[in-house]
Amino acid sequence: MNPKENFDSNFGEASVPASRLVTSLASPIDASCRVPLLVLFSGAALWLVVGLLLSLAAVMTFHKPDMFADCPLLTYGRVQPAANDALLYGFCIPAGLGVMLWIFARLSRAELALPLVPVVAANLWHFGVLVGVVAILLGDSTGFVWLEFPRGGSALLFAAFLLIAISAVATFGQRRECELYPSHWFLLAALLWFPWIYSTANLFLVAWPVRGVAQVAINSWFATNLIFVWLALVGLGTAFYFLPKLAGRPLQTYYLALFVFWTLILFGSWMGITVSAPLPAWMSAASSVAAALTLVPVLAVAIITFKTVRGVPHGGISCKGEPFCYIKFGTAAFVLSALMLIAEACPQISRVIGFTWFGPAQVQLQILGFFTVVMSGAIHELLPCVMGFGLPFPKLVRLQHWLFMPGIVLWAGSLAVGGVAQGMKLGNPQTAFADSTAAALMFLRVGTTGLLFILLGSLLFATNIFIMTLKWKLALFKSLLAAFKAPLATPSASASLRRDRAVAEGKGGEVKP
């Protein structure tokens, strides 16, 4: 938390004027976010654990194929999409939205607008995810990658997202500074991005399906725009807020960030159509060109992060596992996963690694290595401010980092290497097909250890959030109880009661008369 204090004083020196990043420690702003964020984050933490457990159940198929053979609910083909969707829709998106609401409120120097709306929406969202995940496990998936939720679940998610977006835009509209900070661009674009791609995909694929392989084009477009572009917009928007804040020096630089924003949304949104897809050749050609051009924003993100982090006294490089390390590691994982995605779009490389575990490795790195790590870092950093008291187990934050980091390297790394090994054999028709799948098997088994590490880390994360929620609820309950027990009071007594309750809620005793 130290860099925060000297942040404003350091800030004016370099390329971003202080006015562009508004930081305020005023607690009413944080307190206004409290309930919505708690609902969003506690649900998200639960889905993170559930998603990783499902992932583990899925990967167990490769250890012991007959383990769930008699249980259709846990068939690989059902558990795997359920796990992916629980991670993406259950954890990534609500966590991203929560962090986004807080950043908007902070940057606007205003309390969260319509705070009740995101609370309702968050409950709606998590209920929608529950409906979707259960439906997938029961065999009611739509069959489209990353869009497996049936109509009911999708409709709930869409409505919930719009409600949260309304609150976010209203908070954005309250801002006192006209000038926008780079995080604003990324997060605002993400608010537009999701409803557009989600409604398009659901309308064209599920509600009124188009014919034939046009479905494939739309599904690929949706998946890339969600997994690559949307996660990048929110993750980078968050990283560009926290990196300078925690490093205590301005973002290097404003104009490079602007460049990243433009090139990312222009080129990134065209990626995703593979060379092998049975689609007209111009589509995969356009996608490959876009992938090559996306190299530009990806390298620019690496430069921004490196330059922003480099000059930090006491450890731009060295890391003890605090939120700053999370954000640094997450950004590095983004650069790596984006490079993997770009490599997949190159026809020569895709001939080897197409249809192998390399693709899932990239997705896991993007979702777990980049987004989950950045979000958990951000949540660890902002939650104490929002709640008004520290994390119950601050040491677990470091422990979680040291579980996540090797876990992700092991999990995504072994999948990627296994994918290359599998692809080498797949490309040689003299090798039996079973040999190619067996080549990846060893790596999958090694990778499972990594997945276990990540699961343990997520349990620590959930523990911190749940104990925190519990503490807050207890305090609230106590204050309510006190109010209930208190005798009908004179005006002065009721004022002191309100003060007590405000203290219990962590508002620091500020009471309006």
């Binding site: 739509t142 489209f144 509209g173 949104s269």
Partner: protein, 227 residues
């Protein structure tokens, strides 16, 4: 950028352009696809699935089979087979022409894979050159015609998938016209693949050699995996 509206418009334009490219254009280009008549026959391709296969597709969807299996056949290029349809009046000259080209172009190997001969021709091979480049096939056909034989070129798709017998050519858009949902799959982690092939693309590039059923009834062994 000073203004939220500008950011909004920027994102709107960027996403709108890609929406036009990868949503609107495919719907316009591929959404109106129709059955095509197969050349030299009264067949059309593709034809809808029979009821049982349609149910199979729903089993495939419900159990997420596409998580491990793909329905796509990849192709890395093409090669030519030269087929002699008639040995003509002077079979020894045809054999001599074949042998001359064989020693010229492929001194170290025979390019035949099927050693079938044309009946009553004194040993004229039916497929003198297989899996050769287009230029060589053109020269061969010309030389055979010069000595009175009739020859033609068959274009063959090549690639690891095709050599494994998963299909005769790469998958094309028409193959999936009646699938709902279309589930191509992106990972080959399981041992079985559904095979798809059709006569149509074959006919577009040359007479059919080996035809496969356009639809193979879907069935799937319980759950993974035999390795």
């Amino acid at each position: 950028m000073r203004n939220g509206v500008i950011v909004f418009i920027a994102a709107f334009i960027a996403l709108g352009v890609s929406w036009c490219g990868f949503v609107l254009a495919p719907v316009m280009q591929l959404g109106t696809e129709k059955q095509a008549a197969v050349l030299n026959s009264s067949d059309v391709y593709p034809i809808g699935r029979p009821g049982e296969a349609n149910q199979g597709l729903q089993v495939y969807r419900a159990n997420g089979c596409a998580a491990c299996h793909t329905e796509q056949v990849q192709q890395s290029g093409f090669a030519c087979d030269v087929m002699i349809t008639s040995a003509g009046t002077n079979p020894p000259a045809v054999i001599a022409a074949w042998w001359r080209m064989q020693t010229n172009f492929f001194p170290n190997e025979m390019t035949q894979r099927f050693y079938s001969v044309i009946p009553n021709s004194g040993g004229v091979p039916q497929f003198p050159f297989e899996r050769v480049r287009k230029e060589i096939a053109d020269i061969a056909v010309e030389s055979f015609q010069n000595v009175g034989a009739k020859a033609e070129i068959h274009i063959i798709a090549i690639g690891p998938d095709i050599e494994r017998g998963w299909g005769l050519r790469r998958s094309v858009a028409e193959d999936f016209l009646y699938d709902q949902p279309v589930q191509l799959g992106s990972l080959r982690a399981g041992p079985r693949q559904r095979r798809r092939a059709s006569a149509r693309r074959q006919l577009a590039v040359g007479p059919p050699l080996r035809t496969a059923s356009a639809r193979e009834k879907f069935h799937h062994a319980a759950v993974p995996l035999s390795f």
